[in-house]
């Protein structure tokens, strides 16, 4: 008969990698990945929107797949590699260089209040990583889990199409 894993006063040791850095956590297993990212690791780029898996503002990439961190238990992220919006841009020659998707969102007016933006960008990245030739229909399908109350989605889709072309080297 196996025993519970969280035997350290209700907590357990969990190792995760976030934006290519390793973190060793000692946490209760019933906390969500979103809660740990924002409140333990102080990475507040990922947003807490509906908190029940509808709006997608909490979207991060886990082992290459877009997931909603508000309903991902931290235990489900154990041993996995997480990428958040904070991990998207690069530093070159001491200057921050935005990811083509981030740049495209700015250039195409795909950001109004900005609250859905980190989730939209991470969902878009996961989509384009998996389907570098995604057309408008595939992009809209891939963003089905992300809600925006400001933009009406048109500029978001245009931004993702533009980023797709940049990433393919066509621009």
């Amino acid at each position: 008969m196996i025993g519970p894993v969280n035997d350290l006063l209700g907590k357990m040791q969990i190792h995760i990698q976030v934006n290519e850095r390793d973190y060793d956590l000692l946490v209760a297993p019933d906390r969500t990945l979103l809660d740990i990212l924002r409140n333990e690791l102080h990475m507040t780029g990922t947003k807490q929107g509906c908190d029940d898996a509808n709006c997608g503002a909490c979207t991060v990439i886990m082992d290459g797949k877009a997931v909603k961190s508000c309903i991902t238990l931290i235990t489900q992220a154990a041993g996995k590699s997480i990428q958040t919006i904070e991990g998207l841009s690069r530093f070159e020659d001491g200057k921050e260089k935005l990811h083509p998707i981030q740049q495209a969102f700015i250039e195409h007016g795909a950001i109004q209040c900005g609250f859905c933006t980190p989730g939209m960008i991470m969902a878009s990245k996961a989509l384009l990583d998996e389907s570098p030739d995604a057309d408008e229909e595939a992009i809209r399908e891939g963003l089905h889990g992300n809600m925006c109350r400001c933009t009406g989605y048109v500029n978001i889709v245009k931004a993702v199409e533009s980023a797709r072309d940049v990433l393919k080297g066509e621009k």
Partner: protein, 290 residues
Amino acid sequence: MFREYYVPKTTGQCLEAAKAYGDEAYYLAGGTDLVVKMRSGAVSPKAVIDLSGVDGLDKIIQTDTEMLIGAMCRLTPLSKLAQAKGIDVICRAAGHVSSIQVRNMATIGGNTCNASPSADTVPALIVMDAQAVVAGFAGTRRIPLADFFAGPGRTCMEKGELLTAFAVPREKDITEADYQKFSIRGDSDIAIIGAGARISVGSGGVITKARVALGAVAATPIRAYKAEEMLTGQKLSEELVAEAAKAAAEEARPITDQRATKQYRIKMVRIHTAMALKNCMDRIAGNVRT
């Protein structure tokens, strides 16, 4: 949300851990339903038993007589399965569940065990005559999916029993199946109605097996038996499809809720059952050159 967390490696360990807690432990598959319910307080288990480390629950196994789909198969890879012959409609229905983020974590077993009357994979499983393979202390038993649900959110499983796989029998006759989901905002909305259909034809184009399964129009997913009887032994035609769809609509027993009225759902059953049957007919015509 919960106190104790278990990571079993075998189904035996799952059953033992569940037995120790009785009503107060839940199995965790993808978490896309369970974690939502725990966070809202709809359920408050003492313990959660994580199935993701249990060997063999996420395999698809083909034998001479059937295909076994592991309960922990995640919906995204299932929806994109290349070698899906015999379970195409189940894979297609898996792709209709919610959004990509949810499908990356959600499992086909979890979609059944959550037992929503509108679950998208269930009508597809029913029309393919799938049986739920359930492990318990007394051994393993098999339950046809059409008989698996007791009410909204309730299955016929005893507490602690574990759904390990779906067994889909192989069919020698030419078979086509389809699932139509009707909702407002595409897949990320819960189905207003779901219509699954399956037709197997033998010599002379006569229907040897017909199945029609409906979601979101009763307390559980249901089979439209009268529609099935109407189709069996006949040859497919547009008139027959229309009659069967009408019969299916009469067998639906939906309620009025925030998504749609009872009357609208009945109309949509007729339209979408006809669509699903017509798709089967067209694909069979593409297969069978008579």
